[in-house]
């Protein structure tokens, strides 16, 4: 898996936008030996994502899926106008803690990524980084019509139209904007999917890695991060 070549951007595009600090260049060391420095390759791991098979014993996997479904830790990353709908979820009126939903500040500890509305290209770059840093059973809940077909920003030069071309999506919550009740319904739908064992999109992402990367690199022109952000 790791021997496969990474998807490298066209050379002229890469040289055009990469910060000269990160550009590939030849450096003369203090001892006079010349060597090539490529910070985007040298400082980062270029390992590709792995596919983690579910537990082979169905009973154990069913139990673990139940635990995953009942303990959804949400990454605190609001991308668009929908992030204003996430805050009331934790207030007494809606109280998502009842369903095991808890906000977490770091992608390493979270399982659910709520894409809350439109995504500009600049945000998509950060979303891809955060999504790839989350540990393996990870789920994406796409909020609002902007993530489905672009919504009211369908003709904007700067916002994406279809989220599922860039990261895999488990459940959509339609609306512009969906109310917090709709978001709770989305959480419950996600729970059903996880309990049925149908939410293995992290593995799908690893399987179709090349396709996702090609789509991402098509619009993120100044690609100055590793292909997979460990």
């Amino acid at each position: 898996m790791s021997e496969e070549k990474n998807i490298i951007q066209p050379a002229e595009q890469a040289s055009k936008f990469v910060n000269p600090l990160y550009a590939k260049r030849e450096v003369t060391g203090p001892d006079g030996i010349k060597f090539i420095v490529d910070p985007l390759r040298d400082y980062f791991s270029d390992q590709r994502p792995q596919i983690y098979e579910p537990n082979s014993i169905p009973v154990i996997e069913k139990f673990l899926n139940w635990a995953r479904a009942e303990s959804l830790w949400v990454l605190g990353f609001g991308t668009g106008c929908g992030s204003i709908e996430i805050a009331p979820l934790l207030t007494p009126r809606f109280d998502a803690f009842r369903y095991g939903v808890m906000p977490r500040p770091t992608p390493r500890q979270s399982n659910v990524f709520i894409i809350s509305g439109y995504l500009s290209i600049k945000t998509l770059k950060r979303v891809v980084r955060s999504y790839e840093q989350m540990p393996n059973p990870k789920y994406v809940l796409a909020l609002g019509s902007c993530t489905i077909n672009g919504g009211m920003y369908y003709d904007s030069y700067n916002t994406i139209n279809r989220l599922d071309h860039y990261i895999p999506v488990d459940a959509y919550v339609a609306g512009c904007m969906p109310r917090p009740e709709a978001l709770l319904a989305g959480f419950n739908k996600l729970k059903e999917l996880i309990k049925d064992g149908k939410a293995e999109n992290a593995n799908e992402y690893a399987k179709n890695f090349d396709w996702y990367k090609a789509n991402q690199k098509k619009i993120i022109k100044d690609w100055n991060m590793p292909d997979y952000n460990w």
Partner: protein, 302 residues
């Protein structure tokens, strides 16, 4: 050296009881916080689910050897505290491995986990981890000062460093408890308990649910599961330490549960009422009233 399998078995059973009791108290704490905020709150079994889920995370990521050892040190700090802490006085089976002078060892183990965690979280390389460590160590140092002074006062009062002896000296009616015989040391220690259990006024180090999460920023999956396990154990054992030192110990499990629950909820009740201190505020707070009370407690019994 011959192994006393019965003793090992009862110690492991005690650890199991303490772990589950700690998880239940954690759930009760969050439930209480929710009810104060007029929410319904989590289900009471949520900590167990979180624990199972975290141990079932498939992909883990290493930042080096110390990154692995950090949670291990933290857990061994918690279990070390448990091993040398007598749980139930009056039964040989639940005394664990306490011995003469275990009070000194327990004071050491309180800092052991913090230091191990500092090394591990430092290796993760995340800036929030480094900030959390410096905050945690500076706050814990000031927490330790009044606590240590109070314990010195008790050691002078009972003329022993053995927890079992201290507990046995308090038997025979609640008027013999340290809380009545040495109230100044008790107040100093109970104020520092607020910091030891790191609930609301003094929880900036972990700052749950906020952006700088503190030392465990990079810990995920089973690493985080180990830290959660340790947290549950540590909270019960700290409460048990204060129960043994100040509130006459426990002679059966029911008494143990009642007393640890009330001691633990002293910090929770304070936590739901008072908002969070910044780190320099909490450091200077511990260096004022609790420290003065601690010094006073030592002077009174010198």
């Amino acid at each position: 050296m011959d192994f006393d399998f019965e003793k090992i078995g009862f110690t492991l059973l005690g650890l199991f009881i303490v772990l589950n009791w700690g998880l239940l108290m954690g759930a009760a704490m969050r439930k209480l916080g929710a009810r104060v905020g007029r929410r319904y709150g989590i289900p009471w079994f949520q900590p167990w689910i979180n624990l199972f889920k975290n141990y079932a995370i498939r992909s883990t990521l290493s930042h080096g050897i110390m990154f692995y050892l950090g949670p291990v040190f933290r857990l061994s700090g918690g279990i070390g505290l448990f091993l040398f802490m007598p749980m139930i006085i009056g039964s040989q089976l639940w005394l664990n491995y306490s011995f003469q002078g275990d009070l000194v060892l327990i004071m050491y183990f309180q800092f052991f986990g913090m230091l191990g965690m500092a090394l591990g979280a430092g290796e993760s390389g995340h800036p929030y981890s480094a900030i959390g460590i410096s905050r945690g160590l500076s706050q814990f140092t000031t927490i330790e000062l009044p606590l240590t002074l109070a314990i010195i006062s008790i050691a002078v009062q009972y003329n022993t460093l053995s927890i079992i002896d201290i507990v046995q000296a308090q038997q025979g009616g609640f008027m013999n408890w340290t809380v009545f015989t040495n109230p100044v040391a008790t107040v100093a220690a109970m104020l520092s308990l607020l910091g030891v259990l790191s609930h609301s006024p003094f929880n900036l180090v972990n700052a749950p649910n906020e952006n700088p999460i503190g030392p465990p920023t990079e810990y995920h999956g089973s690493f985080l599961g180990v830290l959660q396990t340790n947290r549950a154990i540590l909270h019960v054992v700290e409460a048990a330490l204060f129960m043994n030192l100040f509130f006459g110990g426990a002679t059966n499990w029911f008494e143990f549960f009642m007393k640890t629950f009330l001691i633990y909820f002293w910090s929770v009740f304070v936590g739901v009422v008072f908002p969070r201190y910044r780190i320099e505020q909490s450091v200077s707070w511990f260096l004022k009233v609790p420290l003065v009370l601690g010094v006073l407690a030592v002077i009174l019994y010198m």
